[in-house]
């Protein structure tokens, strides 16, 4: 099997404000392959975005990457551990945007209102490519063209608030691709958009991925999007990846109760008309109030008293690609250990 | 004409020599405070003054002039010095030696309101000018003068050949012009001045010949001699009396000013039109500006210096008057100093600091006695010498009790009670005030003028009711029905039992009167009288006194040493400044038509005496003055505290380079400090 372009091992990112500790990412691991799409899914507040930002080392204080490895294979074949890099270092900056592009969820507030979109794209380009202002501008216009923005020559000089939501998101994508990165992280790229625009944006991303052989990390809480886009899936809950595997496996043979719950919550064409849409019992606990043992047990329908609430479940391998973190699978001897 | 022959200096020094070094223990009672000895300081000089050579035989025959004037003569722009000087010369022998020409005299001033700063330098532009003792008048514009035996005609003999600064002759016509076209012009002066209307009977100015002027009155007016010699509306001269919107001074340059008067300028319309053309509202505003030497460089003057850059600039510049009529025994036309420049200081701290930095060559005006230690500290650095000149007036902080106060009957009752006033006077510890605010250099006492002066009422009168005696004060207050006190030990009103609160209105002016009053209030508190000090802005204070709103007002009584010439701070005769009783002043001033007649017989007596004096000969006049002072002091209408001090214009910083400067100045309104010392004789040694 080909080497992953990016592989994350036991990533630990904690926030340490005065009031306590938030284990935002608590030992997440996954691989990302060129040309493939990894979907990271979970309810909001489960650490998806933090994971993504950890990779770029742009987690805001008081958050910090405290452990694990983030192994990135550079174009020249070198493998760097981003977790060990100084987040202010030149190399880290080259990687941001250069090797990894990032699409944020709110295009409105993610673009500066005081600068034209062109200005920001050109900046992104010239940060990583030796181009004159003029060339960069040409490039920016091409990019806008590429992401399917009408009359790019005019648009390049307009401000974000003058654009529609869809166009803004396209600009974001252009921005992310400005320096032709190998990896694209799309953080809830479609949440802020209406359904039709969603479809267009997803389509665009898929197209670009195909054209440029991009590795994409798609972060979303929407199983539907995952089903549409992802090759493999990682399901996150409270900073831990509770199940990961190929998209078919996850969808057709979900193991972890949480995954199952998530799946049940997607509206399905197969479902009987007017049947109530299932929701996950209870709500995600407060970050400070992370329960001991398996973080999911308070909401779990197959909760085993004395087991799940005692210690954290180990990772159980279902098959080569499919892993799940739950006591229901594999030897219960784990608990004794 | 004689204001008394006692020379001021001797007795002053006698008093000063009594002093001994001041030593006191903190815990010990203030009584141990001794009057400190000024003589130790070596800052008080001998009174000395210029001498006027009146014997034509001793006059110089040949004359010199300042180089730049000689230059102008060469160019034919100026007649030769000989022709510029009058036949009747004024020859002044400087205090020390013949001087040299050249140099600029740098001074500080505080703005357009400070015109006196320059007026005083031109003090010689008046008919008569007192000598350095302030006691004897000298000739000035007039070479001689005479009062007829009946006291109805006063004659001035002008100098033949006297010329204005533009070269035009100065004659009796200029006196007549002032009298007929300015003084008698109701638009300019709505009403005659007392100086010209003895007992309400208007006098006249009559030209005898070009060089002889008569002032003619219907009733005996012996006082007129004093008026002519004093800093009065009639005798004050052009510089002060016709600047800053004033229109007095007995003479004016007819040949120049006529053009601005409707009478000579083709009627009011024409005059107004001309005024508008020059940016003035009316002919009158224009006239006020044109006759003002501080504003109008073109105005012909008679003083040693004339304005070249008007006062309403950041720097007020004066230059020598090429036709100045005074020479030294060597025949040098005065003044020696080419120029006077006054730099605007927005506040007095800056002015004082600049003085200490040696940025002024001779400054006595606006110098703060409180800064004396600092001033001495910087003597060598600022290259100046400090002189302390002691004033002649009785007190620098006088507490006037408003006799016509009405707003609060209870308060009014006590303000009018003689024993109340006496008690409060006894309660004032003048030594304390002297030490704190006058650095111990002044003299405690009543309001009476200094022993040296003719009007001094006699031994004991500076002490009467004016020595510290808390016990007696308490007894007197108890006796007059103020025995009842409140919890804090303050005496209470007889009407409602509330604490009796007096208001002392104090202005931060020449002296820190508010602070002084705080100390006085603290001393009064010790005899159970609550006095609230009102630190009031100057205009406000005056407006309120004019509206009869004040209980007690603090000011100084400078000028009262010549009671008849400047009575307002001793007797309520002019409503504009009558702290002792504005309503009574209105009554007196209006001849009984306005205001309120005093019901206090003593005040009426004072008014009588004052009026009668005008017609009395010198000796009787002196007696009358002493009489008035005795009543004033016995009644304590105004409490005197500390005076005869250098507090006002008496701290003098003199550049080491400056020569012929007397080591002692006469500090009095009519001495025109420093002008009375003839600055035109001062010069730079190097």
């Amino acid at each position: 099997m080909v080497e992953p372009i990016l592989s994350v091992r036991d990533l630990v990112t904690y926030f340490r404000p005065e009031e306590g500790v938030v284990r935002a990412v608590d030992g997440a691991s996954f691989d990302l392959h060129a040309g493939r799409t990894l979907g990271i899914v979970g309810e909001s507040g489960c650490g998806k975005s933090v994971t993504a930002r950890s990779i770029l080392r742009i987690v805001e204080r008081p958050g910090r990457v405290e452990g694990g490895e983030i192994l990135l294979r550079r174009a020249d074949g070198r493998v760097v551990d981003l977790a060990k890099l100084d987040d202010k270092s030149q190399e880290m900056r080259n990687i941001r945007g250069g090797a990894i592009g990032y699409i944020f969820q709110e295009p409105m507030s993610s673009l500066s209102a005081f600068h034209t979109v062109g200005n920001q794209i050109i900046e992104a380009i010239r940060l990583h490519r030796k181009l004159t202002a003029k060339e960069a501008r040409e490039r920016a216009i091409e990019l806008l063209q590429l992401v399917g923005i009408p009359q790019p020559q005019q648009r390049v000089d307009s401000y974000s608030f003058e654009l529609s939501g869809g166009l803004r998101q396209r600009v974001m994508i252009a921005l992310a691709l400005a320096a032709e990165p190998g990896i694209l992280i799309a953080d809830e790229p479609t949440t802020a958009l209406d359904v039709t625009t969603q479809a267009q944006i997803l389509e665009l991303i898929r197209r670009l991925q195909a054209e440029r052989h991009l590795a994409v990390i798609l972060i979303t809480h929407d199983m539907g999007v995952i089903a549409e886009m992802a090759d493999s899936v990682a399901v996150m809950y409270l900073g831990k990846i509770v199940e990961s595997g190929p998209v078919d496996a996850i969808f057709h043979a979900p193991r972890h109760p949480y995954t199952q719950a998530l799946l049940r919550s997607i509206p399905s064409v197969l479902a009987a008309p007017r049947s109530r849409l299932a929701t996950i019992a209870g709500s995600i606990p407060h970050p400070y109030a992370r329960p001991p043992g398996c973080p999911y047990y308070p909401r779990c329908h197959s909760f085993m008293a004395g087991v799940c609430d005692k210690s954290t479940p180990p990772v159980n391998r279902i098959d080569a690609a499919h892993e799940v973190r739950c006591f229901l699978y594999g030897a219960a001897t784990e608990t004794a250990a | 004409m004689n204001l008394g022959t006692v020379t001021l200096g001797r007795s002053m020094l006698a008093r000063l020599l009594l002093g001994t070094a001041l030593v006191f223990g903190i815990a010990s009672a203030p009584e141990t405070l001794a009057q400190s000895s000024l003589s130790q300081s070596g800052l008080v000089g001998q009174p000395e003054g210029i001498t006027i050579i009146t014997d034509p035989a001793q006059w110089p025959k040949t004359f010199n002039e300042a180089p730049q004037l000689a230059e102008l003569v060469k160019q034919g722009k100026l007649p030769p010095v000989k022709d510029r000087l009058p036949e009747d010369l004024m020859v002044i022998k400087p205090v020390r030696e013949i001087g040299k020409y050249g140099g600029t005299w740098r001074r500080g001033f505080t703005g357009p309101g400070d015109d006196e700063n320059g007026n005083r330098l031109n003090a010689s532009d008046r008919p008569l000018l007192v000598d350095h003792t302030g006691a004897k008048p000298n000739p000035s514009l007039a070479k001689a003068w005479k009062m007829s035996d009946d006291g109805k005609t006063f004659t001035l003999f002008l100098r033949k050949g006297l010329k204005w600064s533009d070269g035009a002759p100065m004659t009796a016509n200029d006196f007549v012009f002032w009298f007929e076209d300015i003084y008698s012009n109701k638009d300019i002066l709505p009403q005659g001045i007392p100086d010209m209307t003895p007992q309400g009977k208007p006098g006249r100015i009559v030209k005898v010949d070009d060089y002889t002027v008569n002032f003619v009155f219907d009733v005996p007016f012996y006082l007129f001699e004093d008026l002519m010699a004093g800093d009065t509306l009639i005798g004050g001269g052009q510089a002060v009396r016709q600047s800053n919107k004033r229109s007095h001074g007995a003479y004016a340059p007819a040949h120049y000013l006529k053009q601005f008067l409707p009478k000579y300028a083709g009627g009011v319309e024409a005059a107004n039109a001309a005024a508008k053309a020059e940016g003035f509202d009316t002919w009158l505003t224009r006239f006020h500006a044109k006759k003002d030497w501080t504003l109008n460089p073109a105005l012909p003057v008679l003083g040693p210096w004339r304005t070249v850059q008007p006062i309403n600039n950041a720097i007020w510049v004066m230059e020598r008057n090429p036709f100045y009529w005074v020479v030294d025994p060597a025949g040098n036309q005065l003044p020696y100093l080419d120029r006077v420049t006054m730099t605007l200081a927005e506040n007095l701290e800056v002015l004082n600091l600049r003085a200490m930095a040696g940025e002024y060559d001779l400054q006595e005006r606006h110098i703060d006695i409180g800064k004396l230690p600092v001033i001495l500290e910087n003597q060598t650095r600022g290259k100046y010498k400090v002189h302390l000149d002691l004033a002649l007036n009785g007190t620098d902080a006088i507490y006037h009790f408003n006799q016509s106060f009405e707003a609060d009957p209870e308060i009014a009752k006590w303000l009018r009670n003689a024993d109340f006033r006496r008690a409060l006077s006894l309660a004032v510890d003048r030594k304390q005030l002297n030490e704190t605010f006058w650095l111990g250099v002044a003299t405690p006492g009543s309001t009476a003028p200094g022993e040296a002066l003719p009007y001094f009422p006699g031994p004991g009168w500076r002490e009467k009711w004016s020595t510290f005696d808390q016990k007696k004060a308490n007894e007197m207050l108890d006796a007059i029905g103020l025995a009842k006190k409140d919890a804090q030990g303050f005496r209470v009103r007889t009407d409602n039992g509330q604490r009796l609160r007096l208001q002392v209105q104090a202005v931060q002016a020449f002296l820190p009167w508010p602070k002084i009053s705080e100390m006085v209030a603290d001393q009064w508190a010790k005899v159970g009288i609550q006095a609230d000090v009102r630190d009031t802005e100057r205009n406000l204070a005056f407006t309120r006194t004019q509206n009869n709103e004040h209980h007690i007002m603090v000011w100084n009584n400078g000028g009262t040493e010549l009671l008849y010439l400047f009575p307002r701070h001793a007797i309520p005769v002019d409503p504009t400044e009558a702290f002792m009783g504005p309503e009574h002043a209105k009554w007196f001033n209006s001849g009984g038509t306005q205001g309120k007649k005093p019901d206090d017989p003593n005040i009426m007596k004072i008014f009588e005496l004052y009026q009668s004096a005008a017609g009395q000969k010198s000796d009787d006049r002196v007696k009358t003055a002493q009489e008035i002072w005795k009543i004033l002091i016995d009644q304590q209408y105004a409490i005197g505290t500390v005076g005869q001090s250098p507090a006002l214009m008496g701290v003098r910083l003199v550049s080491e380079r400056l020569g012929n400067v007397p080591s002692r100045n006469c500090i009095a309104q009519h001495c025109r400090t420093p002008g009375g010392a003839h600055p035109e004789t001062w010069y730079y040694k190097n």
Partner: protein, 330 residues
Amino acid sequence: MIAYIVRRLILALLTIWAISVVTFVIIQLPPGDFVDAYIVQLSASGSVVRFEEAQALRQLYGLDQPVWVQYGKWIIRVVQGDFGASMEWNRPVTEVIGDRLWMTIVISFAAIIITWGIALPIGIYSAVRQYSFADYIFTFVGFVGIAVPNFLLALIIMYFGFKLFDLNIGGLFSSDYQLAPWSWGKVWDLMKHLPLPAVILALAGTAQLIRIMRANLLDELRRPYVTTARARGLVEWRAVMKYPVRAALNPFASTIGYLLPFVVSGSIVISLVLSLPTVGPLLLRALLAQDMFLAGTIVLLLGILTVIGTFISDLILMWIDPRIRAGMHE
């Protein structure tokens, strides 16, 4: 857009008119009038003004008329560009003010520039390094600025300047340039005297701006677009300077207008202590002397300056903030 500007202009005119009224009222508030003040000033110098002369003078200056008449006459002249004559200085008000107005503006702007020069960097720093040691130090130093009454500072500096460094006392020109007409030499002389008062003047405003800048920037720093900027590999300081600082600076445009009266008020006291040839001492004197037209004109001019300032700052705001611009078009 034009309509907007016009509307602002009309409002500005209204404001100016209101100011003129308030001004006149203020000046009339204290009891007494110029003639009283004049009498006081004369009697202080020992000369006498007789009661009747005083009345004559009142007529001369029309002070005997009711206030509203006086205002009417004044404002009519002002509209015609004639500000009347100063009673105390016996000169047209415009002449009296003359250079002093420019001096005031020069000093004020010098102060404002210094204020910004100090405040913005510190503000930015203490926002980016919130609660850091330096944050405390800088804010502390900044605050000492407002805490020390600036007149006190002025006097102390002046005295010790004289005592220790032999600086010449007060003023904006050294004595040799006092009389001289405007020349490069004089300008340079002015430049040499300017910093001291300007800095003293600036201190007060500085801390204010530090706080505003810090607060604004703290808000902006949390906006996603900063993260975006980082995410595209921008150097940290650049990411901060180009985006959030730019945004945080915006509100400053609107403060320009109000900074002026603040600084001018301050300059009155400073100028008084340091004896600077600004309108400050002139105004103070005019108010004390109740020299109506002079005081009125100065206050009015300052008011107008402010209104213009606010107006301009609005325009600037409109010009630098694309969102407002966009709003204009709609």
